[in-house]
Symmetry: C2
């Protein structure tokens, strides 16, 4: 993911997902699949992510808290969440936020 | 930065800073200095970040919007912001959020 999410005027919502990996086997395929699946959910606004050897940070943006709840409960996503806890992640933090203000700079 | 921020019970605030670099010369020294300086500001709760070749994501956590404003206006930080626009960044997005809910997993 190399571009910024094209989000509307605030308010909107963000899910900050910070993770430390344990096992990368099969992870990237699942992450790509989940990104593709998320992107067609109602209320999805965009996604930004970066990963290095120590930490991964993914922020997804959503129109509403209801859209976040619906994605959380999506059957294929739930399966990926289970596999994540069993296999891929050493630890993670999820924070659900209301974006109140934003600012963009482009050269 | 390899650890998760130790944030309190929500609500608290997050600043999501997503960036694409143009020039890395002198950047890491300034980034390290700003992290050190931010960490002693009143109301600072923690910071998480990851960077790869395409994108950098840094999320800092704060007790209040007032703490974020004070950090934004800090003299040394303002100088770093100016240098960032002149030199280091191709583009960036800043989003100020209220964290309403969080969840942690650790193996």
């Amino acid at each position: 993911m190399s571009e910024f999410a094209k989000t509307p005027q605030p308010p909107y919502y963000a899910v900050i997902f910070s993770s430390q990996m344990r096992d990368m086997d099969g992870y990237q395929e699942m992450a790509d699949k989940m990104e593709e699946l998320a992107s067609v959910q109602k209320g999805f606004l965009g996604l930004e992510s970066a990963r290095n050897s120590e930490m991964g940070m993914t922020v997804s943006y959503w129109e509403s808290k209801e859209a976040i709840q619906a994605w959380k409960a999506h059957a294929e996503h739930k399966l990926a969440q289970q596999l994540g806890c069993q296999k891929w992640y050493e630890a993670f933090a999820i924070r659900v936020c209301k974006v109140e203000r934003d600012h963009f700079f482009e050269r």
